[in-house]
Amino acid sequence: MTTILERTAGLLAFVRTVDAGSFAGAARSIGASPSAVSKSVSRLEQRLGVRLLQRSTRTLSPTSEGAAYYEHVAPHLRAIEEADDIVQVPGNVRGVLRVTVPSTFGRPLISAWAGSFLERYPDIKLDLSVTDRRVDLIREGFDLAVRIGELEDTNLIGRSLGVLQYVLGASPEYLQRRGIP
């Protein structure tokens, strides 16, 4: 007999797996391992007596029962997660924030900014990824992605952080040898 907690874990694993299209993406967004997510979904399928995911194809996608189940369950799960946020104020804000940034941001973020942010909000856990690879935010389970350059057509929501300016730099030694242009 599964407890309500075990059932909820299965629902979360399943919904996130459908959102991300993979156990790995779901795992990242939950903070669990991909195998734990996979097992959780299997237990849910056993309890329901129904295949929810098609594991035979290369990308994970829901069966027709899985899609119907998802449509019913996902909005409720989302509402519950949003409810967590309703009671939070800056003074008590908490939770994991999964952010991916390009390497241009990586250094200043890690060396200076992240420290001040975490000092201000000590109960927030920052899961920071620094990469110049084009990241698929939803599939890889990130909350936020910083992107430099014009946005391509995307179904994500983008908020402008401002503008970066290119500068020409030279070492003092070089300028001494070659003169200042």
Partner: protein, 60 residues
């Protein structure tokens, strides 16, 4: 980009050359997939990034 060499500029290992020639700028965005409302921790982090970008000596 300036932000990538901020430390070097501050330490004097690099100087800005030809500052009077306007170099091209590139926009920066933060993307997310939260439909209705951003969770508070995400909102605060974005506000923080905007503030940090403004304070470090960048042209915004």
């Amino acid at each position: 980009m300036r932000i990538a060499i901020e430390d070097e500029l501050a330490a004097g290992r690099l100087n800005v050359v030809l500052p009077e020639i306007p170099m091209f700028t590139t926009p920066v965005y933060v993307l997310h997939a939260f439909e209705r409302q951003l969770p508070l921790r995400a909102r605060l982090f974005i506000d923080f990034l905007v503030e940090a970008l403004g304070v470090s000596r960048l042209s915004l």
